[in-house]
Symmetry: C2
Subunit: 427 residues, 2 copies
Amino acid sequence: MARIVMKFGGTSMAGIERIRHVANLVKREAAAGNQVAVVVSAMAGETDRLIQFCREASSLYDPREYDVVVASGEQVTSGLLAITLQGMGLNARSYMGWQLPIRTSAAHAAALIDGIDVAVLERVFDDQGIAVIPGFQGVADDGSVSTLGRGGSDTSAVALAVAMKADRCDIYTDVDGVYTTDPRIVPRARKLDIVTYEEMLELASVGAKVLQTRSVGLAMRENMPVRVLSSFEEPDESRPAGTRRGTMIVGEDYMQSREAQGKNMERQLITGIAYDKNEARISLIGLSDKPGTVAAIFAPLAAANINVDMIVQSVAREGEKRDLTFTVPTAALAHSVDALTQAKDEIGFEEILTDSNVVKVSAVGVGMRSNAGIAARMFEALADRGIRILAIATSEIKVSVLIPEEYTELAVRVLHTAYGLDAESDA
Amino acid sequence: MARIVMKFGGTSMAGIERIRHVANLVKREAAAGNQVAVVVSAMAGETDRLIQFCREASSLYDPREYDVVVASGEQVTSGLLAITLQGMGLNARSYMGWQLPIRTSAAHAAALIDGIDVAVLERVFDDQGIAVIPGFQGVADDGSVSTLGRGGSDTSAVALAVAMKADRCDIYTDVDGVYTTDPRIVPRARKLDIVTYEEMLELASVGAKVLQTRSVGLAMRENMPVRVLSSFEEPDESRPAGTRRGTMIVGEDYMQSREAQGKNMERQLITGIAYDKNEARISLIGLSDKPGTVAAIFAPLAAANINVDMIVQSVAREGEKRDLTFTVPTAALAHSVDALTQAKDEIGFEEILTDSNVVKVSAVGVGMRSNAGIAARMFEALADRGIRILAIATSEIKVSVLIPEEYTELAVRVLHTAYGLDAESDA
């Protein structure tokens, strides 16, 4: 017997036929003797419809009342799933965020979960019951309805799993797992059976649609195993031997214990190739070599809440002018240029160049920690295809390069092959 | 300054444009210095959509979960109206049924209001605020969401008005008031400026779409003045002199005090003509004259929860067979015949005849109490047109006849004229 949270996204809840399918998946877990709490999203499209209403009502809508409106979408699907489960003879009931309660901060429309009271759930489990809980919503200390922001249902599910000390949190979605890279670019991309939290966060650009980043961060802090799988996929027992369902997202200690058991022997140094087109390059030309220049550049950006990513400083002889290149989110490019231009006198640069036609391509893998030569292999592979590297950044588990956007697909394919990630044959 | 409840139905809340119009009506009352609580229905069609979901999920849906689903409709419109009012610079906030709370019985999908806590509202009024409250919903003692049954928002509004000791409850709908009869049948029907609760209840057949009967009963018990008016109608100040907006529904004491003040001098003996096609006639032929026969007839019907209305017993000499005719709701006709047939031996009748092609036409008015000849005028007017009367029933404020259904329109028009209710000219 295991204690699990099952979370279903909007596509899985879109209409009664799909809800019936979800109910069958829940029934199967319950029939296996597991204690099950289900977290649901609103029907696909419903949250957008409700947000649109709020915007039409007033462009400066009160986030507190916005939460009252948009929380209704998950309320509906929770009740409908409970009804459907009951119709199958199961002992199911819904519990709204304010009923459990799921206590949150008062930051309406972007609330943080403070805690979840599981006393009600323990009684439900004692009665062999199934609890259905709306994702995305909670209740603030003043008794007002709150929501966690878009995609918050994943976070609700992980937080609930942590609170009820679940064995794992299963996130059902419309893809069958996390891939080594974007399968639309590389048909030979492979589904990963297992990744670490850190890798999942770095792979966000190719996996963002799979799982909300915030929920991965929470799972990592709390060491809660998360499994991503498709609600439209066949169950394990009917799959070909040797294939696992979905992708497990776990801590490194879990991964190491598996390796100690002789599993994961075939583990690659690199887990996947990510890319992110949402970066723009800024170059400041003709900077003076005086102390404090770099601080003068980044202070106004930090004040404007702009996240600076890759930073490359040209090497210059003492006393000579030098250049500095870095990236910011594309959406913040205009704002960044404004902030830098206003600070031009303090910084002291001659020219500011920008380029939003760039892409950051990254090789991600915890395996690279103990292996040299990972970065070198990347530079070689890209050089072989004549792809110019505009900037480089490395971390413990990631090597990233900034390249011209037009080379995105080529670079991803080349690196996927270079690191031995291609599947044996096209799936 | 007055303290008022304003209630808006689904047609008035159907979409942001209409909600904006509603917000303007609310703003006008608040600007006049009134303390205002607003009760809203779900958008027209939304409750039906949600009920349909529940039915599809399971034909035997749990009313408790049904309430979770359907209560969401009013939650959405409450939040949207609060946002719209805020957008106009007003201090408005929504309060769900569980937040006030509006305490109800645990009879899910048909809950009764036990009480409403107005402490929160008093604070809102102290701050010159406007409270927006979803109709139709409340919270049961165990903390579960409850709903009052279809049309329950009118009842929510009246109950809230009673709890907050409002001066009146304004029910905004898509008609401009209560009429002397159905204007589709009698183009010269007049809008009534004022009716008593008792008259309103008797006029339910022509006014049922205007106001839920249950809310009128509550207003009558609590002596809460209710005004029915159209949310699409022009405000009083822009109306022609001498015309009032909507229809006031009040107690007889209020009516008498107006008459003592010299108002309502032109008041008619009869307030309106109602008709009800939802009645079916049952005749039991050849009943024996033994004691207890009538009791034997009505006991099985009462046991089956069937409301018997008009009852006519034929006069027979002692020892002779006699007949008994009465009416039941059309929907209960088959059930009634079953119950009577099963009890045939105890009752002792020769034949059972039924007819659902009948209509009950009623003249309603508190003025008839002090006036003889009201019934006689009805019988004469119908006889002049050759309309056969199948049964007669009278009460303190009503004379009803059962006639063949095909004469409905003719009888209503004839009686409307006979009692002097026709407007001077077609409106």
